[in-house]
């Protein structure tokens, strides 16, 4: 099946480029597309005259068409007009082999998105109902995963992590989104995410041009080609991404274990009850019995950046036998933590073995929970990764680079899209993060991402309780497991083939 994925037309005087829209529509009408999906922001204002204008322009598309609302369409209570002009806000389109479920993620008069609890349940029920369809596609205006060239990344769906988790549990093949005005295609654990750029809006980013995504879904693979339109004469550049549709894997491990990394965060050393001593002490017993090559602490070492809490940190951390590398969380540098962190931990350091280089990155800012790597630091990091001699590159930082279940997007880096794209393009093997106290592991592109739960903080978001991650690297695979702080019980979070294994 072949889908033309367009988005963000912003049909309105000023923003709309008529000649580009007409050219793309001509191309779509002439090619054998089975379906056209417009992932929202059809209009710029949501006003009645905007809808009338947009409807007259959109009807030039002579293919089966699904349109969903974006945040601009819902401005000025435009969501009440959307159905009169373009159909249901939420719905299902199905063919013999496929189902497309589309969801309205807009919040009136806000740029941010949300799939609220009732709609989330509706979506889950549709995924159950159409579970046996060969190709499962979900469309939603707001992007699920940070998009590069987005400037400050603050408009991701509030519950993007929950949505990603749900869609992956039901083996959704393809997710279609827009919103960010920059095309991006990425594979997360076998689910392909297609973000379309602007089909006809002048508000493109980083000097880009208008584009649409040409998607082919077959039993073996999903192909997404970003088709850019440079001018009305059709001077185009196309980028193509191909992904295998196979999601299940059997791992017949033949090689021995090469290395073991323990990944912890959220020790929260404190004189308050927020720090749970027994959990920390038991976790250390387990960590020492696992004999890791290195322990990576992704921050929130102390409750507050004050001398008393850092003295407790010094006392407790010396009970871990393996070498430890640290990056600070926001708590670690508040008050006078910015002075104490390097004194007690030695500062952010890299760790090298013949197999890998672990690069420490600071993402925390003084007196702010918002994370940022920054353009300057990202460029330095890219250089360091390219220059390293070891075959595996590993990055660790405090803030999340992808949305996690049960967490609103607040834990994300404000430049997460650029950081994620850069690390994926550089084929970084592992990214370790620590914000949000939720154990999680996933793969984005060829990069495995591990987030650790708080090891000994009273406040956790995981039903499983406090834990830390252990990462075992074999000749041909990487296995990430979560280990319960108190009891030492173990649960596999994910197994993947190694890039260079």
């Amino acid at each position: 099946m072949r889908i033309a994925h367009i988005s963000d037309s912003h049909i309105a005087p000023g923003a709309f480029r008529t000649e580009v829209f007409n050219q793309i529509v001509k191309e779509i009408n002439e090619a054998p597309f089975d379906l056209v999906v417009h992932t929202g922001d059809v209009t710029d204002s949501g006003l009645r005259e905007a809808y009338e204008h947009a409807a007259s322009v959109i009807k030039t598309i002579r293919k089966p068409l699904v349109i969903l609302p974006g945040n601009h369409d819902c401005r000025n209570v435009g969501y009440e007009l959307f159905e009169d002009y373009f159909g249901d806000l939420n719905g299902v389109r199905q063919g013999e082999d496929y189902v497309l479920i589309y969801v309205d993620s807009s919040i009136p008069d806000q740029n941010e998105g949300r799939v609220g609890s009732s709609k989330f349940t509706w979506l889950k029920n549709r995924l159950i109902e159409y579970s046996s369809k060969k190709y499962k596609i979900v469309a939603v205006h707001h992007h699920l995963i940070p998009v590069p060239k987005a400037g400050t990344e603050r408009n991701v769906l509030f519950n993007a992590g929950d949505l990603m988790d749900l869609l992956q549990k039901y083996d959704v093949d393809l997710v279609l989104s827009g919103h960010r005005h920059y095309p991006n295609v990425i594979n997360t654990n076998g689910m392909v995410i297609s973000n379309a750029g602007c089909v006809s809006c002048r508000k493109v980013r980083a000097g880009d041009v208008c584009s649409y995504n040409d998607i082919t879904v077959s039993p073996e693979e999903i192909t997404v080609a970003i088709k850019r339109v440079r001018d009305p004469q059709g001077d185009k550049t196309s980028q193509e991404y191909r992904y295998s549709r196979s999601r299940s894997e059997i791992f017949v491990s033949e090689g021995k274990r090469l290395s073991r990394i323990v990944h912890i965060t959220g020790t929260f050393f404190s004189d308050r009850k927020i720090f749970e001593t027994t959990k920390y002490e038991n976790a250390v017993k387990t960590i020492n019995s696992l004999s890791p090559d290195v322990v990576v602490h992704c921050g929130d070492i102390v409750d507050k950046g004050i001398p008393l809490h850092y003295e407790l940190a010094r006392k407790y951390l010396q009970t871990i036998e393996a070498p430890i590398v640290y990056t600070p969380g926001p708590r670690d540098i508040n008050y006078i933590g910015y002075e104490l962190f390097p004194r007690i931990t030695g500062g952010i350091q890299n760790f090298k073995t013949p197999l890998f280089c672990i690069h420490g990155v600071n993402s925390s800012q003084y007196d702010s929970n918002v994370g940022s790597v920054g353009r300057f630091a990202l460029r330095n990091l890219e250089g360091a990764i390219e220059e390293q001699e070891q075959e595996m590159s590993i990055i660790f930082l405090h803030h999340n680079v992808v949305p996690l279940p049960h967490i609103r997007e607040k834990g994300l880096l404000e430049d997460a899209g650029d950081v994620l794209r850069s690390l994926c393009d550089l084929q970084v093997d592992l990214v370790l993060t620590g914000h949000s106290s939720y154990p999680y592991a996933t793969k984005v592109g060829n990069t495995i991402i591990s987030n650790a739960n708080a090891v000994s903080c009273r406040y956790v978001r995981s039903l499983y309780g406090n834990s830390f991650n252990v990462i075992d690297i074999y000749e041909n695979l990487i296995n990430i497991s979560e280990i319960h702080s108190l009891w030492g019980s173990r649960r596999i979070l994910g197994i993947w083939k190694r890039n260079s294994g």
Binding site: I128, S131, S132, K169, Y170, D171, R247, S248, E249, I250, F251, V252, S253, R257, E276, T277, T278, K279, L463, Y464, G465, N466, D472, N479, S481, H484, L486, W487, S489, R490, R491, I492, G494, I495
Partner: protein, 140 residues
């Protein structure tokens, strides 16, 4: 199974299926296979010869190796179950549980388009609850 339970377990087993299986070749020794179970802390292994040809669990090791005195250097093909009991990935969880009950097994191989692609175990279903209880009784 009462209606309430049936409703809450009516979702496809897909949601609880582990789609990444750990396997050994047919000629792997029983001891090496057991070491793999210990390394990954898992209770079962699939046996592969290009595709899945067999399956065995910790229980099978006790029953067919330890209790009978079979040498640990024998290949896993000697102890694996060849008649595989499977369920399609879109089967409701309660139907899979009924099948497991009928066959008295705690692991079910899951198929998609007639190929074995995953594993469902009772442990997956109760893990969350078990760890939640562990946390509850450990409150300091």
């Amino acid at each position: 199974m009462n209606m309430m339970k049936k409703n809450s377990l009516s979702v496809p087993v897909r949601q609880y299926t582990t789609k990444k299986l750990i396997g050994v070749p047919e000629n792997e020794t029983i001891q090496n296979a057991c070491q793999k179970m210990v390394e990954f802390r898992i209770g079962s292994l699939v046996v592969c010869n290009k595709k899945v040809v067999g399956f065995f669990t910790q229980g099978d090791i006790i029953e067919r190796v330890v209790a009978t005195g079979l040498s640990y250097t024998e290949p896993v093909s000697k102890i694996m179950t060849r008649d595989l009991i499977t369920a399609d990935i879109d089967t409701p969880v309660y139907e899979v549980l009924e099948l497991m009950q009928k066959h008295q097994i705690r692991h079910m191989l899951i198929t998609e388009e007639a190929h074995i692609t995953g594993l469902f175990s009772l442990k997956d279903l109760v893990d969350a609850e078990r760890q939640f209880l562990e946390t509850a009784i450990s409150s300091e």
